[in-house]
Symmetry: C2
Subunit: 384 residues, 2 copies
């Protein structure tokens, strides 16, 4: 009798239990990222791969090969990713944007960022004040732009600021989505507010925007956590009927939390579960030093048996963002597994990189604030 | 045993059966317009009453006395009424706007008009093209303004044009309305599109707008068909929790159709049921000549028994819009009931007035088109 599979559930609004990513991919009906696909990207990008793909954090997709083939044949795509602003970003929020920045830098493609300050107000269970989601929207946008986006090729839909630009297309999208669809996809109930019910129309807008604005098919690539796939399944279902290309998706695993949770969520009193970008160096140090690892009970045991990177929140940080090369990542992984690299030393090496990232990011963020406003789209290309 | 009451049902999206207006008022839980209330209005307006109130077409209200008392004590209110544009207006669509114009002229109060070109696209059962609801929005707006509104005191929320101005307030409203409420009020089903589900948030915005913009309580009066009461019950329920005055309502009976229907609806092949403002003189003449009346089978019988104005679509036109004075209205009514005024002659007298109204309205509409644009609100008074 096979062992009972662990139960988990993943929706855009909640992740429960320990996630079996391969099963989740099968449940969602998405494609694996194969070595052939990685080779194709490697070739197109001139002999490089984004770390998050090389290390398998992005592990699933929809329609990526056709998008890359199109690019290779002179049909550029654009990137679309977003953020629901309710507080400071933590490092795992950067993952999808770092991937986008890599694509923009290597392939020269436009980036569209959506800041959903309306949706975050509608979806908040704690009743976040309206002013706060907008205020965090500006802060989060600066953090995102600071990752190295090109001011000339980066555009922001800041929902409360961009609504006049988005609405003509949102009206058309909303006509084609009924309540039963959003109920099924998002698990809405009768007590869900009508803002949230409507929201998927606005979330779909950026995916179709360049095609709508330019009057020709412009392919779209959306990197996102696998939990966000359902949002964009609606966009994909609508695309062809409305005459736009189906957006391609690239799905990441969730980044585990510092406290050992399967997701770096900080809801409730879990603020030590993540490294916030506005944490000071002492707080960062404390969180890393206290973080859950895959180490053994004693040094002796760890030297003898090695540690377990797959369950370690520190290894996850190396893997997702802080190992600057594949060589360094392999060295850490091997050191951990072999027992040569103990947790204290591993944390020290990581902290050096985290501190440096924070110092450089602060400067870049201040600079990004000087041009963030210029990225915000406020006018529609056409009235209807 | 009492006779079985006739069945009817009235929702904002459908009117079925022969309406018992007094029962409907009781079902909806609204107040009667009493002689005392009419006397109060008569006094405030300097010794005049709007024809539609004097003749009992507006027969029900919510909170009108307090609004009028406030006005008398130096607290002006504003008017709000709207139109879902899907085609040319017919004369019965003007009823609520003629009442508003009367209030504006006599009391000097501001008027806010909402043109719901988004909602009409979402609610259309026949799939009206998106461009058409906006195009009709401009046409309908000109027809409304042509009734004599003051360009300096009249403002338009043209949804697709005004969304940037409306959205900050709509976001707050939408947070407070859940799906079960709109389902119950509007009879929505799972196949209702999410635009229509969201729409009540935008319909509520004008009722709160002046209070929101000016940062103080500005009372609102909404004249509407009694069938539209549920729309604004939601606004009323929200008002106090959001710190705005509950909008007062003034409800009219429905104008019967020329073909004898209880409502001047032109859905399907019922275009002869109404006088469209873009009908030419010959079409108007034909529709009136063919209209259903309360006359008898023969002239002799009518001379002897008199006719029945209450069931007559021509009498309804005199009553709602075309009897220029109460004296004329009484003369027509009495002539009909006594058998002295036969249907042919009655129709001739009415046609004279209808033709004159059309000629004058055409000129006024052309003039209104030169300033309609200046009434459209496009910017929000504050960002959040």
């Amino acid at each position: 009798m096979p062992a009972k599979k662990e139960e988990f559930s993943v929706t855009p609004y909640e992740v429960k239990g320990k996630i079996d990513y391969e099963r989740l991919r099968e449940q969602f009906g998405t494609q694996s990222i194969t070595p052939e696909l990685l080779a194709k990207l490697h070739h197109i990008a001139g002999g490089e791969l984004p770390p998050a793909l090389a290390r398998g954090i992005y592990y699933s997709h929809r329609d990526l090969p056709a998008l890359l083939d199109g690019y290779a044949n002179g049909k550029p795509f654009f990137l679309y990713s977003g953020r629901g602003p309710s507080g400071p970003l933590h490092t795992s929020h950067l993952l999808q944007f770092q991937l986008c920045q890599w694509f923009q830098k290597r392939l020269g493609v436009p980036m569209y960022i959506q800041i959903t300050d309306d949706e975050k107000f509608w979806s908040s269970k704690t009743g976040i004040p309206r002013e706060e989601t907008t205020r965090w929207g500006y802060e989060n946008l600066a953090d995102i732009l600071a990752l190295g986006f090109d001011p000339k090729r980066t555009f922001t839909f800041f929902d409360s600021r961009s609504i006049a630009a988005m609405y003509p297309l949102a009206v058309r999208v909303a006509r084609k989505v009924n309540y039963s669809t959003v109920k099924a996809v998002f698990g809405f109930t009768p007590s869900t507010n009508i803002g949230l019910v409507f929201y998927t129309a606005l979330q779909t807008v950026p995916a179709f925007w360049p095609s709508w604005a330019e009057g020709r098919a412009v392919p779209c690539l959306i990197p996102c956590g696998i939990d966000q796939d359902p949002h964009f399944r609606i966009s994909r279902d609508l695309a062809e009927g409305m005459g736009y290309p189906k957006p391609a998706l690239l799905h990441s695993q969730m980044v585990p939390g510092l406290l050992g949770d399967s997701v770096m969520s900080t809801t409730g009193d879990r603020s030590d579960n993540a490294l916030f970008l506005n944490d000071g160096p002492k707080v960062v140090e404390r969180k890393v030093r206290n973080a859950f690892t895959g180490g053994r009970a004693t040094v002796e045991e760890q030297r003898r048996l090695g540690a377990v990177p797959e369950v370690c929140s520190i290894w996850a940080l190396w893997r997702t963002q802080f190992a600057e090369t594949e060589t360094k990542f392999a060295e850490v992984t091997e050191g951990c597994r072999s027992g040569r690299l103990l947790c204290g030393e591993c944390k020290s090496q990581l902290l050096e990189r985290v501190h440096r990232f924070y110092r450089e990011h602060e400067v870049a963020r201040d600079r990004a604030k000087t041009w963030a406003e210029s990225t915000i789209i406020t006018a529609a290309p056409k009235a209807l």
